[in-house]
Symmetry: C2
Subunit: 207 residues, 2 copies
């Protein structure tokens, strides 16, 4: 269900001493270019012709690596999905809502710090990604988003706690994605610490 063609390895197919400007496979380069263009201009406003130009190849070359434009966006979605999935696996879902939420949030801060650009892509192309999701009517998501929805939809938890859970998610999202470059020159470590403290106060769980 994932990616049938060459795969998305970081290292190129050939050995060292490469004369190409990049050791990445062409497929990976397409994804990197698309990631940036989709984020800045939006998915619909980015044409394959434009991607091909930055790639240095023609438009038809892209169709060797991806069978449609949607498949490019989908591959980028899986990049984040896979990262999120392995992060979720390392967290056991405790019965104590607030405590398990706090540990989850800590992991989530790290994840978002590491893949800021992928989160930004998703934030700025929600409509296109939801359309992809709807057309793939099968596909058990098991998404990060589902995890959030499940936690926030649990009406056995009092409203104030649920609001603070949603707020802590938004707080992280706001600092790392929404404000854009406001904290771009701040060391990741400082950002992580400040965010953790802030979310602790928000969840009223000072350590």
């Amino acid at each position: 269900m994932k990616s049938e063609p060459p795969g998305d390895q970081v290292l190129g197919a050939r050995s060292a001493g490469e004369d190409h400007p990049s050791v990445e496979s062409t497929r990976s380069r397409i994804l990197d270019i698309a990631l940036e263009l989709f984020t800045v201009q939006g998915y619909e406003k980015t044409s394959l012709r434009q991607i091909a130009e930055e790639l240095g190849y023609s438009k038809a070359a892209i169709y060797y690596h991806f069978k449609s434009k949607d498949e490019i966006l989908l591959a980028l979605h899986y990049r984040l999905h896979d990262f999120g999935h392995s992060a979720l696996e390392s967290i056991e879902t405790s019965s104590d809502t607030v405590a398990s939420w706090t540990t989850f949030v800590d992991q989530f801060i790290d994840l978002m710090l590491e893949h800021r650009n992928l989160f930004t892509l998703h934030e700025r192309n929600r409509a296109a990604l939801e359309r992809l999701h709807d057309e793939r009517h099968g596909a058990s998501h098991d998404d990060l988003e589902d995890h959030f929805r499940r936690a926030l939809g649990d009406t056995s938890v009092d409203l104030d706690t649920r609001v603070r859970m949603a707020a802590s998610f938004g707080a992280i999202f706001g600092c790392l994605v929404l404000v854009g470059d406001a904290f771009h020159d701040v060391p990741a470590e400082d950002l992580r610490q400040s965010l953790r403290w802030a979310v602790r106060d928000l969840m009223r769980q000072p350590e």
Copy 2:
């Protein structure tokens, strides 16, 4: 610079006893339909043909009220811009950063609660709106967004405080826009109170 045609009044042009399904002017109805479609499907994926269908008129009728598709999105932007501007006017910018931020945030919660759908439109069409903004190279924005950027970019404030300011913005945004329908059945008053308390804790300014 705003809207040259009929204007965007809420009440229709004719007196009571209307036989039309709505008392709004056609221009206003177009904006309402576009607001919903742009939000759900995205600006680019929404065609004028689709808007015309829901409107009950033909595509060409829309061009009597708006001279381009971009103008429709721009008019919706001004709807929020005007609300935000009048909200900003009622806040004097104090020299005490944290205190003035807290009062600003309280106003902001109210604003976002009242115009949730307009904020959601903006969140889901940032790329399109930024393109509009870039093409209008004049236009001193004096936007809500500028107000945030100015506050967050003030490097004379320590990082932890700036992070908490960005976090409080994200917290509100997260609860009222990002999570979508998770709190849709919650009374606005309860949501406002929970959010205010949460942000107070986040800014370490208990009242």
